[in-house]
């Protein structure tokens, strides 16, 4: 049933997103856009050396994309750049493959239900695509067009 997708933690983060604010002193930021549904997201990351010190976002989107951005920003803090990018890969695997769930995902496991809703995968990955762009210093807004 639809409750597999909209688990309580997702609903909680979609209604009360954490880290939903503009960050004036961010040193990395990027914009993400899902042309399919019009979801827009601006992501702010503050790196200190190789460590993510802080992450936040503003934007408009569905429950899945908002909760994903919220939980992503929470999970990034304290991670190295390399760890953050590895987490992206694991998160993507969680949504699109049947591989066993990685323990490193922590709370992000709550998105496992998205796997059964292929049309919603892009909603969950928008924030993560934007993260990649932010860490790689991209200027062009990323879109979810090339997602599986």
């Amino acid at each position: 049933m639809v409750d597999d997708l909209y688990q309580d933690l997702i609903l909680d983060h979609s209604k009360r997103p954490r880290n939903s604010r503009v960050m004036a002193d961010a040193n990395h930021n990027a914009e993400g856009y899902n042309p399919l549904c019009g979801d827009k997201l601006k992501l702010y990351v503050k790196m200190e050396g190789d460590i993510v010190k802080d992450a936040s976002f503003v934007g408009s989107g569905c429950a899945i994309s908002t909760a994903s951005a919220s939980l992503m920003t929470e999970s990034l803090k304290g991670k190295t750049r390399e760890e953050a990018l590895k987490l992206l890969d694991k998160f993507h695997d969680l949504l699109t493959t049947d591989t066993p769930v990685s323990k490193d995902l922590g709370k992000l496991v709550v998105f496992c239900g998205v796997r059964d809703y292929p049309a919603r995968v892009k909603c969950a990955t928008l924030a993560w695509h934007t993260l990649k762009s932010a860490l790689e210093g991209g200027q062009e807004p990323v879109t979810t067009d090339n997602d599986a």
Binding site: V2, Y6, L11, S14, K15, C37, G38, C62, A63, I64
Partner: protein, 413 residues
């Protein structure tokens, strides 16, 4: 439930028997298909006609002397005659087969447009166009240095004719607009708008993709210069549609694509083009699709478009009332003349979440910008949920939609 004379006289239960696809369960619930503006479901008669072609008559058309080729040519060309009748064109040669309304518009913007539009000329479209009636004109204007101008609409989603009149001037070459808006349901005053364009010396192209399934179209009465429609919206197959054009205009236009079937004589020095309508039909067409479209015209004619329109209007009224009772729901598009499209937003709940929760209850709606991003921008919404109704829908299905939206609100508020 509607209990009027119209609804009572319209035997929707019997009609639903013609649509096998409707007899299925989705996620354990009976399918409630409310996405006919995207594509209409196909009655058995259409499926059978396509199957018959493949099983009995299959051959390429126009060039064969053998029996099968003659049969398939006759069946395909019969659809052209049916399309002429369906749109009330004055001549069968004014019916050009295309892939759909999108290709119809591209044909005109490429063939007529590139020949006739010059730097400084103006093309007028409307604020409620589907991307398919924006982008081809934008491309033409970019190439020619022409200007694209847009008829604005009011907050009900109706075009403002006073503003439209002010846009018209001697530089206006073409006015291209939709008969019925896919995102809002608005039925535009096409005849009046065409007359206004003609008075200014401009031609008109009407995007009839959403109108053809619901309204009796008479291109001669409208005095449309071009009118285009898609087969799959009128319970026919995908990949086939019709472009109507006045013969004098089509004759003066260069071919759209080159290839087989559109020629009289080919040498390496020079090619003489075929007469209408074949000049615009290069290559082997969608023969099966054309034959299926013929069956779709027959099917709609048998029921009667006037009866369809009356029944759908009752559904629209019933649906509008049902949705209006839902707190926090706002209907986007409340034109006084409206086809059976219910586009809406619910405060604080994203359309994609609404669509997913409804799907799990067997209810198919469309969510997103409906290929009309400027319409979404105008109403300051990123997207809407759209329930679009057809004559095979029932009041009970609207009740299911309302109940489904109750469940949506339960989850998200």
């Amino acid at each position: 439930m509607p209990t009027s004379v119209i609804a009572a006289a319209f035997d929707v239960v019997k009609i639903r028997e013609d649509f096998p696809v409707l007899r299925q369960f989705i996620h354990g619930k009976p399918l409630v298909y409310l996405d006919s503006a995207a594509t209409a479901q196909k009655p058995t008669a259409v499926v059978d006609a396509i199957r018959h072609f493949h099983e009995v008559d299959c051959a390429n058309i126009h060039r064969g002397v053998h029996e099968l080729s003659q049969r398939s040519t006759a069946a395909y060309e019969e659809t052209r005659a049916k399309a002429k009748q369906f749109l009330n064109a004055s001549n069968v040669n004014e019916v050009i087969f295309v892939r759909g309304a999108t290709e119809g518009i591209n044909l005109v913007s490429n063939s007529w447009g590139r020949k006739n539009v010059k730097e400084g000329d103006e093309i007028v479209i409307s604020a409620m166009e589907h991307h398919s009636n924006i982008v081809p004109w934008q491309m033409l204007c970019e190439e020619k240095g022409a200007k694209l101008r847009v008829i604005p609409m009011n907050d009900r989603g109706e075009l403002i004719l006073e503003q439209y009149e002010k846009l018209l001037n001697p530089r206006t070459r073409m006015v291209a607009f939709t008969h019925v808006s896919n995102a809002l349901g608005t039925i535009n005053p096409v005849k009046e708008m065409i007359a206004m364009a003609h008075k200014a010396g401009a031609l008109t192209l009407i995007d009839g993709a959403q109108a053809a399934p619901h309204i009796h179209v008479d291109v001669q009465d409208l005095d449309a210069d071009f009118y285009t429609m898609s087969g799959h919206k009128v319970v026919g197959p995908t990949g086939i549609g019709v472009l109507y054009g006045k013969a004098a205009l089509l004759n003066a236009m260069p071919p759209y694509q080159g290839g087989g079937d559109m020629i009289k004589v080919v040498t390496f020095e020079k090619t003489t083009y075929a007469d209408l309508p074949y000049k615009f039909e290069a290559g082997t067409p969608n023969i099966a699709g054309g034959i299926g479209l013929g069956a779709a015209f027959d099917y709609l004619n048998k029921i009667g478009l006037d009866k369809i329109a009356a029944y759908e209007h009752e559904l629209l009224v019933y649906g509008t009332e049902a949705l209006s009772r839902i707190a926090g729901l706002r209907i986007i598009g409340t034109a006084r003349e409206k086809a059976a499209v219910l586009s809406f937003v619910i405060e604080g709940i994203h359309p994609h979440d609404i669509g997913t929760v409804l799907d799990r209850q067997g209810i198919a709606v469309r969510t997103g910008h409906h290929c009309a991003q400027p319409v979404m921008d105008w109403f300051h919404v990123p997207a809407t949920t759209r329930a679009s109704l057809a004559f095979y829908n029932t009041a009970a299905e609207i009740d299911a939609l309302a109940a489904g939206l109750g469940k949506v609100k339960e989850i998200f508020s």
